[in-house]
Symmetry: C2
Subunit: 285 residues, 2 copies
Amino acid sequence: MAFTTNSTIASFGGTIHKLTHDSSTTRTPMNLNLFIPGTASPSAPSPLLIFLSGLTCTPDNCTEKGFLQAHASRLGLAILYPDTSPRGTDHPGEHADWDFGSSASFYVDATRDPWSSNYNMESYVAEELPRLLSLHFAQLDTRRVSISGHSMGGHGALTLFLRYPGRYRSVSAFSPVCNPSRCPWGEKAFAGYLGGDREEWKRHDATELVRSWEGSLNCLIDVGTADPFYKGGQLLPENFAKAVEEAGVDGPVIRYQKGYDHSYFFVSTFGEDHVKFAAKALGLL
Amino acid sequence: MAFTTNSTIASFGGTIHKLTHDSSTTRTPMNLNLFIPGTASPSAPSPLLIFLSGLTCTPDNCTEKGFLQAHASRLGLAILYPDTSPRGTDHPGEHADWDFGSSASFYVDATRDPWSSNYNMESYVAEELPRLLSLHFAQLDTRRVSISGHSMGGHGALTLFLRYPGRYRSVSAFSPVCNPSRCPWGEKAFAGYLGGDREEWKRHDATELVRSWEGSLNCLIDVGTADPFYKGGQLLPENFAKAVEEAGVDGPVIRYQKGYDHSYFFVSTFGEDHVKFAAKALGLL
């Protein structure tokens, strides 16, 4: 078994599996949480929603505070919570800032040393981890996958969806970093992981990627109007909306939720909408 | 205003108020969280569910992980999360153990020095705090109150319900300490707060109190069969059930939930049942 089971926890009629495995992509042990609904079986495998978490998080934060399992269980949907970066590599400066290095991978494959040796979270999330899960969990149908995320993880969800057309049935995001090339968090991360070439940054920026999207885009975004990071210009959903409009892309729904902040209280409040959105795209509704 | 508002957070269409006030009962500043549903107003005030948390907790744990607000919001129910002990008194040994002193009041009025000067959580929860809330939150109807709790807080909910007949419309508990006089947690706490007279302990022990209960008892208890504290003899729900049966008390429902543990994953899974149980007793369903 590629995965070590650290614990299993009953939740909403299903099971949370807390797992660790050695990743060949990050060259580190990686933690993840996997919720499998009680209805899933090898003969009736569950489709999968990948949820990418934000800065400072581990797989546990949304597992404990997002309340997504409540809805996923009812609908027969599995949820994967990967970690937000490799752990334990201790590169110089890796743990100095909360918005760079550990817990802050931005879900790219780094091209700059020393990060490129481990910080390959795009390939890890998009390729290695689903493949490994499909080999070891016959209760999962990893051909039917949607993706979602929060904040930095919203950026990850949007960019992976846009960079791998057809791989995911839908994308949704809570308070996503929509235009990282133009916000302080993204500029710092991209400069560190990808270097100074801003043309390269565009390949990991949802607002730039959506300009060349073809067809409709099955995308739901929620942003809280009292979110200090929204107000502080880290999220820039208006830039994404403008690019969508300019490109004539149909489909994306961006909602501004009055009075909500950036926390998991926001995620949990609108979690049902996002789980149902994915479930519909995955044929469960 | 008796309360200082540290923050307000939008959640499930209502608002979480993070409050601090100076308690005359504990003679310390006390923290609490108060969820008020969006439907509450002075002309249509919400009834109140008091939720008492367990060992090691603050008001935040269940606020963040219990998901009770999701259901309470739909039903028009407010929820009060008091703290689990006074804070900041620094009595000798107060912070030495996780099962005694800070975060471990057991919701009694202590009679032993030095605890008796501050550890008066029974009077605080049953008397002072609801009275203060009624004075300052016209959106609350503090004449309609139910009580619930988890683990040590389940003990608190059961004993306060039984010690103040008619004060609460219903009581429910997740993994409660049902017979504290007979379990290590309770013996340690009662010896420390109340002294060595085991007759006095009985006045704070649900299994003893229920023996003299008159009438039916509107009580719901859930216990997880994989709960290590249940298996380790800290909860003893069978003793409570036996006392209920021997006393011929109608009403209590005790459910054993297969495979569930002691965590908030357990609380959140069955939270809807407990919120609906209170809501029904409070005339909302």
